[in-house]
């Protein structure tokens, strides 16, 4: 066991996989950084996740123009022809400019070939509000992405899961979007040596409890756990489930928790309508109706873009207090 930040866990996973398989390439904007500029020290990505890769793997680490459509499509084509590309799309907000390559090309090619074409493509991108980045650098569009047939969407909350899900994505056969929360890069946590892959579709019980089930992803797992500690003082034991993958969702784990608690709160950072929270509530309402003792609840940001001002952003994001309050009213119902 070692302690690593999410940033370093991801970086370390990239280093070890790239050393083991020269079919893995990494590409994106500024992921080398400083290309074309002499004597420049490499940036290694604006969040530093690809640091040091250029020095080791040179031609397999590729800076691109600001042409997300072209380079995401290029990565998709490369995945269809023998490589295992890892693309960095700097912020998930930018997926809008290359959504066709994501939703129609990368996500559909395996199906359209009836399984004859492999597509080992990993798209790393960042998400999340809380740092004053404003409406176009703060979104968390995992619910939107999960609507796309053919995509796996994952959103880790810990260093071990970040590295493990990244490995599963890179070693897998299909396209995966890995959503890294900007606010969690510096988060430290214990990781098993060798950073083992984490399978898709398997959640994690982040905290055990018997009274209420909270389903949350990414940074919301930490807020939910914080809320659970507050609630414990009042004798309410909340179970926090981190599905880790948005799609495929671990319905089994969620329903098993429901069997224990009978009460559900979903906390999400993506959009309010038709997002992750609604999907989980639907899973539970359909598959766990008899286990529900009270109406399920959700806590999401309001249905607006992410605001810039500090107070607005804080109000917009679900916080530990909001979660605790929602659980209290749920537990009392």
């Amino acid at each position: 066991m070692t302690v690593l930040t999410i940033r370093d866990a991801l970086n370390s996973a990239l280093h070890s996989l790239m050393a083991a398989d020269d079919k893995i390439i990494v590409l994106g904007e500024d992921i080398r950084g400083g290309s074309g500029i002499k004597d420049g020290q490499e940036l290694g990505g604006v969040f530093g996740v690809t640091r040091g890769l250029a020095a080791k793997f040179d031609a397999r680490v590729i800076d691109t123009p600001i042409s997300e459509t072209a380079f995401l499509g290029m990565a998709t084509g490369a995945a269809m022809t023998g490589l295992r590309p890892v693309v960095e799309v700097m912020f998930c907000d930018f997926l809008g400019v290359c959504m066709d390559q994501l939703m129609n090309q990368a996500a559909k090619a395996r199906f359209l070939s009836n399984g004859r074409v492999p597509l080992p493509l990993t798209i790393r991108t960042t998400m999340g509000a809380g740092d004053g980045s404003g409406a176009m650098h703060s979104q968390a569009i995992y619910g939107m992405l999960a609507t796309i047939p053919g995509l796996t969407v994952a959103a880790p909350s810990t260093p071990a899961d970040a590295a493990g899900l990244l490995k599963s994505a890179i070693l897998g056969d299909g396209p995966t979007v890995l959503m890294e929360h900007k606010g969690l890069y510096g988060l430290e946590g214990e990781v098993t040596d060798g950073l083992p892959p984490v399978p898709f579709g398997k959640g994690r019980v982040a905290r055990e409890g018997k009274d209420v089930t909270i389903v949350a992803l990414s940074s919301m797992v930490h807020k939910a756990t914080e809320a659970a500690e507050l609630l414990a003082r009042d004798g309410i034991e909340a179970e926090v489930i981190d599905p880790r993958t948005v799609k495929p969702i671990d319905s089994e784990m969620i329903l098993a928790s429901l069997a224990k608690t009978g009460r559900l709160l979903v906390v999400a950072e993506d959009t309010a309508f038709a997002g992750f929270a609604d999907a989980v509530i639907s899973v539970v309402a359909r598959g766990g109706f008899d286990r529900l003792k009270a109406a399920p609840r959700k806590l999401t940001p309001p249905d607006t873009p992410v605001p810039y001002g500090r107070k607005a952003e804080a109000a917009w994001l679900p916080g530990a207090d909001d979660i605790a309050a929602a659980v209290r009213s749920l537990a009392g119902s």
Partner: protein
């Protein structure tokens, strides 16, 4: 090109025309699930380009109008017909269809339903070839209309910036659906736009077989030798509607164009190939095409079974 090779190429051209004719009749008979976009007029040029390629090391992507490209690459016509008719033994058992022909074994990485969507994918094939040192190249076909789509414009620049072994092939048939290429492209020269992006580029009359062979081999060779991208703009006629069944009222009075297949036939006659041989070729390939499409029509539709392999485990 030797007369023998050229005769075989022209034969392929007639086969493609006949194959699509048979498909069109199948469509009229209600046997085709969707609309088909025919290559009429572009066959000779496409064959000239394929003549320089070495699939499957080279991989090609195409647009919605890719039957001709697929056949020119040597994709099995029966598997293609079955796919276009949505039948058993289709390339994807009918899951993809006419706009999603995929046959990488023959060098066809895929055709596409999104105008320009196929272009970045071919950059990926080029990158693969470069990183793995296979000596292969990526090739992409697209239309004049696609030249105004961000995906295409970005990829031209990307290929230059990353020095990708990639051949861009823009088939300018003067129309994007009902819209004139000259209007949509603001009157600017396509090959000029490409060249300004820093790519080796040439224009060719795609109805001229000799010239097409020369330009394709020159620019294809450039890509292979230098590892840098190149761009061909070919003028080709669109001899029929945007899709089969398109009434083309918007087109007004059609200008008379000579069919590139006839022009290629004339080249053969000039070289002393007897007219009877040409007639015989046409009859033969028409029969072949007809037979293949008939066989495809007789195949069962098993696409639901193919689908069910993707839905087992079911939707969440």
């Amino acid at each position: 090109m030797l007369t023998e090779g050229m005769t075989s190429l022209v034969e392929k051209g007639h086969f493609i025309r006949a194959f699509e004719g048979a498909l069109a009749r199948a469509f009229d008979a209600g046997e085709v699930p969707g609309l088909v976009h025919l290559s009429n007029g572009a066959e000779i040029f496409e064959l000239a380009v394929m003549n320089t390629l070495r699939p499957p090391k080279d991989q090609v992507t195409g647009s919605h109008r890719s039957h001709g490209i697929a056949l020119a690459l040597g994709v099995d016509p029966f598997a293609m017909a079955c796919e276009i008719l949505g039948r058993e033994d289709g390339l994807s058992e009918g899951l993809g269809g006419t706009q999603h022909l995929i046959a990488p074994d023959s060098g066809l990485l895929g055709s596409n339903g999104i105008v320009g969507g196929q272009v970045p994918l071919a950059a990926g094939a080029a990158l693969s070839a470069k990183v793995q040192g296979t000596g292969g190249i990526g090739v992409t076909f697209f239309g004049d209309g696609a030249m105004n789509q961000g995906a295409v414009l970005e990829t031209i620049n990307l290929a230059v910036a990353l020095k990708l072994p990639m051949l861009f092939v823009c088939e300018n048939n003067g129309l994007g659906q009902s819209t004139a290429a000259s209007y949509a492209g603001g009157g600017a020269s396509i090959v000029g736009r490409a060249r300004a992006a820093g790519i080796a580029a040439a224009h060719v009359d795609g109805g001229d077989l000799d010239e097409s062979l020369a330009v394709a081999s020159k620019l294809g060779g450039w890509v292979r030798e230098t590892g840098s991208p190149a761009f061909i703009e070919a003028s080709v006629p669109r001899l029929a509607g945007h899709y089969h069944g398109d009434a083309e009222v918007y087109r007004g009075e059609k200008k008379k164009v000579v069919d590139p297949l006839d022009r290629a036939g004339d080249l053969l006659l000039d070289r002393g190939v007897p007219e009877a041989t040409l007639r015989e070729i046409k009859t033969r390939v028409a029969e072949q095409a007809e037979e293949i499409v008939e066989r495809a029509k007789a195949q069962p539709d098993v696409s639901d079974r193919a689908l069910s392999r993707w839905t087992e485990g079911g939707a969440a």
